[in-house]
Symmetry: C2
Subunit: 322 residues, 2 copies
């Protein structure tokens, strides 16, 4: 049909015919059948968005923001997104969606360390990009934030305020990001020749509840840290809550910082000093990389590391002169 040409913007159609067809399309509310198109064009115009395995992630507003940003970024390409939680059965085989030809590529959020699922993706040459993850696998692109810089900045910031006992609350350590942040903490202490005290490292799992527990852990120590770096805002909020219940004042007794700049960070008492994730850039880069991978059959890798932005609020104070 000539219709097909009009729909696809093929120039080889007389202007007048095009007009007539356009009009008919409008009148009949005609939409081309995506399944039929996908069947022979090998393009589904859909990408899969794989959310992390851990189940509390979706209670974090952070992820819904990300979904939103990705949707915004991909919409100019006329793509839709299929959202799959890594949690359940389907998540086991990330290649399913692609092999079924339901999607042209995958965006994977917050992959785990040594995620075996990524190998299958690379082996099958599935266009894919990781957000908040890294991989050396051929064909796998990634976009991440510079975790080292974030932590290094905070360690410097806090130690320049006179703090020497810096506590650290990790995220879920099976997740790449959490691990990097912990490494960065250790390195930064070393760089500033601050002592590394293992009791000041508390393993959390990103949830507010685990931040609450982290406070309890520190509170049980013979000496409190004078400042604490939390691997995300969520845990910092839990920490704040526990501190409040135990009459430990933030920031007077303990300075506290988080990461992400979730909306709630402005509404805590005191407001939370944190690092804002460049979420829009993260999303749009990821989308651009993925579109590039889908277009070019050659499985190139793209990657970029973005910088977080400091948001200075009221949860830090100089260390008490002792």
């Amino acid at each position: 049909m000539t219709v097909s040409r009009v729909v696809n913007g093929d120039p080889r159609v007389k202007a007048s015919t095009r007009e007539r067809v356009q009009q008919a399309i409008e009148e009949l509310h005609y939409y081309p059948n995506a399944a039929a198109r996908a069947l022979n064009s090998k393009r589904t115009m859909t990408v899969g968005l794989i959310l992390p395995k851990i189940d509390y992630v979706l209670s974090e507003p952070y992820f819904s923001q990300l979904i939103y940003q990705i949707e915004q970024a991909i919409s100019p390409y006329n793509y839709d997104i299929l959202v799959v939680s890594g949690l359940h059965q389907n998540g086991k085989d990330l290649t399913r969606l692609y092999k079924q030809k339901k999607v042209d590529g995958l965006i994977i959020v917050g992959s785990e360390i040594n995620d075996q699922r990524l190998i299958a993706i690379s082996d099958n040459r599935i266009p894919a990009v990781l957000i908040h993850g890294r991989s050396e696998l051929p064909g796998l692109s990634f976009v991440d934030v510079d975790n080292y810089k974030i932590i290094e900045f905070f360690v410097n910031h806090l130690s320049s305020l006179g703090h020497r006992r810096l506590g650290f609350i990790t995220g879920d350590l099976t997740v790449v990001n959490a691990y990097h942040r912990l490494q960065a903490y250790k390195k930064a202490l070393k760089d500033r020749s601050l002592p590394l005290d293992k009791t000041l490292i508390c393993t959390g799992n990103w949830s507010a509840g685990s931040g609450y527990d982290a406070f309890l852990h520190f509170y049980g120590l013979s000496e409190l840290p004078t400042a604490v770096i939390s691997s995300n805002d969520h845990m910092a909020i839990g920490f704040l809550k526990a501190a409040n219940e135990h009459q430990i004042a933030i920031p007077q007794d303990i300075s506290l910082v988080g990461i992400d700049d979730i909306e709630m960070a402005q509404f805590t008492v005191p407001t939370l000093t944190t690092m804002r994730q460049p979420m829009e850039a993260l999303a749009s880069q990821a989308v651009d990389f993925l579109m590039e991978s889908i277009k070019s059959e050659a499985s190139e890798r793209f990657s970029s590391i973005l910088e977080a932005e400091l948001v200075l609020r009221n949860s830090c104070a100089p260390a008490r002169s002792s």
Copy 2:
């Protein structure tokens, strides 16, 4: 092919052949092509999830929870979900996804009052169900929470604590839910013969910032309300923040309640009394209704109104005897 029969569990295959085919499928990592299937079976095994138009929704953890629950509920049906924000262009024509044959039906979250888009859906006999919405349109099912009961309960609760000046913070009044809650507030006051003071009704938009502003509004009044009902937790948290900054103690000076029971409601100071949304039930009912509508060509309507559950925490106190 016999393969097709095996894949679709057709019983008319010899057991031995079935085994051999199964094995080949495993070995070759074969997955049937969804586009081809969709093309002649008229089933895409995908549903569209339409999120609200308003852009701050996605900063609410509430919605990501919902996405998660829907995903869980639909996965046994072997369906995937395509997520579309109502915000941008595509949202204008909700029928697009269906007409393109990309989805078999739609789940629409938090529709607006007199949402024109719904008419097109009904007219086109697109299987659809509203979550947090109502509609009398033929073929449109819905699942909602009993907003009247929620508000009525709170009004009774607070007035039985001796409060007579009850403030109310609305959500975005273009949204069905927000409107119902406001109506319920007015009705409940009337039922208890409490005076309706318009200055005690403050129009918010669901965001924490608007809750903050609501406090400021009440604070500017010649007399503060002694208790405030916020149409969601998010705004209650903003309110809490503003109150704290102005040395108004919650609950001593003002009692406060929210709705939703978002995770943060446990981490505020004081913790927030609220109503938990039956989110899992909401999601699974919606999915069941939708699957039913998709199966039966007859455009039946299903609906159910679920009850929220009280979560009593520390943000309410008896009114001061004056």
